[in-house]
Point group: C2
DNA sequence: CACAATTAAATTGTGTGCAATATAATTTTT
DNA sequence: AAAAATTATATTGCACACAATTTAATTGTG
């Protein structure tokens, strides 16, 4: 076990800042496209999950997106107010709230289909490079979320 | 010029979600370490810039971090309230507000030096891999921020 | 069955991000 | 030099994120 090496405090050398800046740049790039659908970026992510699997609970949505009810509850209320989803307590377990797509929410999927390709075009990366970067980021997130201190 | 290929709408295939999740995981990993310094993650980024170059204006800080005054003004007021920085209108141009480290803000640098190494340890990546990922993310952010539509 | 422990959402409070607007100082133009 | 345009910051309003607490429903235990 060796001590943590002292790395630079220079902003431009930080992986964390590159990640933070790239994530916000990505959200900004989506914004004008999603505005046409009346969605914010986190709302779009919720819709992606629901288009894949409808009828999930708030908890299950949260597991998928790594978001808690403090974030999801108001977001889902806005999607409901927009007529895209419905929120219903489950009769089998009244603690759980089931989220179901409304016709307007389901129909929105058609308008969303061109969006990933549209964004992909801007990246100037091959599909393989995008997939590789995506998988590296997934591994990074997994490492950071697990407190498996000793590894390497 | 070919049409945008229709890519998947599956959450787990999206680069954007991997980026979003990794960025939040990174911020969460920093949180307990920064809490010991009394800083939030964006506040830490501001301090990184000031430790590199003191006396920048709000505008210059914003250029460096890609943040506007709507975000920075309240954040800087909190750093000022914590006694870490000072905010002063420049006499040469009264529109500009100069940010200067206070002794406590300068001293905090010592406590921050082990942090990057501490986080680096968790990544289970070689230094070269971290640098490569960082540079890929920088290129990605540059591409996304520039509307240079045709490229590749 | 009663009651403690657990679980799922919702609520509350703080701190970003960011668009839009306002305010004030400086520069440019006429 | 006065008016118009520009620039820098601050303010306002909305939507996340997330910790901490609350509320309500369910499960586990004696």
């Amino acid at each position: 076990m060796k001590a943590a090496p002292t790395l630079s405090l220079l902003l431009d050398e930080q992986l964390c800042f590159a990640l933070y800046a790239a994530s916000r740049a990505m959200t900004s790039a989506y914004r004008p496209l999603l505005e046409a659908l009346g969605l914010t970026y986190p709302q779009y992510l919720v819709m992606l999950v629901l288009w894949e699997q409808d009828g999930l609970t708030v908890r299950e949505l949260g597991q998928r997106l790594q978001l808690d009810s403090g974030t999801l509850t108001p977001l889902l209320k806005r999607l409901q107010a927009a007529g895209l989803i419905d929120r219903q307590r489950r009769s089998s377990d009244e603690r759980e709230v089931e989220i179901r797509l409304q016709p307007r929410g389901l129909a929105l999927r058609e308008q969303a289909t061109p969006i990933p390709g549209c964004l992909g075009n801007r990246l100037c990366l091959s599909l393989e490079d995008v997939q590789h970067l995506r998988d590296e980021l997934k591994r990074l997130a997994t490492q950071l979320n697990h407190p498996s201190h000793e590894g390497n």
